[in-house]
Amino acid sequence: MTTNTALHTSDDHHDDRSDKTIFGFWVYLMTDCILFATLFAAYAVLHNNTYGGPSAKDLFSPPFALAETLILLTSSFTCGLALQAAYAGQKNKTLLLFGITFLLGISFLTLELKEFTHLVHEGSSWQRSAFLSSFFTLVGSHGLHITSGLVWMTVMIGHIIFRGLTLSTLRRLTCLSLFWHFLDVVWVLIFTIVYLMGVK
C-alpha cells in the first residue's frame, strides 16, 4: 500500500506527505480494531447473561442480517471500484460509484436502525440485560462508524465536484476507502459472532 521507496526516489513533496498520511490513517484503523476487540470481548463474555429475558436466538432473524451483510459487502466493492476510477482520473465514474456506495451505506444504516427500534419497541432495549447492553454497544459503535463514514463520503463527493481529482483529494479518498473496507471487515465479524453464532 504505502511505498517507502518513493520517499527516496521522488522529488515531489506530495509523495512523501501522502505516504505518511496514509500510514498514519492505517495506524488509526489498527487502534480502532482494538476498540472493537474490547467490545467483542465484552459481548463474548456477556452473551449468555440474559437475566431471564430474550436470548440472541429469540431476537435475531438470519435473513435480515444476511441482507445487511450483502448490502455492506456490495458497498465495499463499489467503494473499491470508485477509488480505481478516481486514480484513472474518471471524475464522473468516480462520482457515480461513490454515489452508489453512499446509497448502499444509507440502506444499511436504515436497516440497522429499523432493527434497533424494533428491539426497543419489543421491550428488548439495552436496559433489559447485560447481553443486550453489550449487543447495542457493539453493533451501535459499528453503526456510528458507518454514520461518520457517510458524512465523510458526502464531504468527499463535494470535494470531487468542486475541486476535481487533485492529489490531495486522491489522498483523502484513499483513506476513506480504507475506512469503508475496514468497517466491512468488522461487520463480517459481527455477522458471524453475533448473528450466525447467536441463532444457530
Binding site: 506530495h14 431471564g52 482520473g89 458471524t192
Partner: protein, 127 residues
C-alpha cells in the same frame, strides 16, 4: 494509465483483485448462512466451522480490499497490523479465559446453595 507519482501506484488494487475479493466474500457469506439455516452441522461443530469461514473471509478482505501485504519493504503496515493482532489476541483470549474461570467458580459456589435457588436464576441460561 496515468502519470501519478509512484506512491499512488500500489495503494489501489486492480479491477481483478476487487472482483475476486467480492466474489469470494459473497460465496463465503452464503455458505456460512446456509450452514446455519439448514443446520448442516451439530451445535458443537458449527461454531468452529463458522469461525474458520469468518477468518478466511477476513483474510480475503484484508488482502483484496485493504491491500495488506501489497507494500514494498520494510512492510510498516504489516508490522503495525501484527502488533494490533497480538494485542487483540491477548485481550480477547485473556478476557474469555478469566471470565470463564470466574463464571465456573461462582457457579460451583451456587450449586452448593441448593436451598436458595433464587440466587442463580440469572447467571447463565446457555443455548
Amino acid at each position: 494509465m496515468n502519470n501519478l507519482p509512484h506512491v499512488y501506484q500500489e495503494m489501489h488494487g486492480t479491477l481483478r483483485s476487487y472482483l475476486i475479493g467480492f466474489a469470494l466474500s459473497i460465496i463465503l457469506t452464503l455458505i456460512a448462512y446456509f450452514f446455519v439455516v439448514e443446520h448442516v452441522f451439530s451445535n458443537h461443530i458449527i461454531d468452529y466451522v463458522l469461525a474458520a469461514l469468518c477468518i478466511v473471509q477476513v483474510v480475503i478482505q484484508l488482502v483484496f480490499f485493504l491491500h495488506l501485504g501489497n507494500e514494498s519493504k520494510p512492510y510498516w503496515n504489516f508490522i503495525v497490523f501484527s502488533f494490533m493482532l497480538s494485542v487483540i489476541l491477548i485481550l480477547v483470549i485473556g478476557s474469555l479465559w478469566i471470565m470463564y474461570n470466574l463464571n465456573y467458580r461462582t457457579m460451583a459456589d451456587m450449586s452448593d446453595m441448593q436451598d436458595n435457588p433464587s440466587h442463580n436464576t440469572h447467571t447463565s441460561t446457555g443455548y
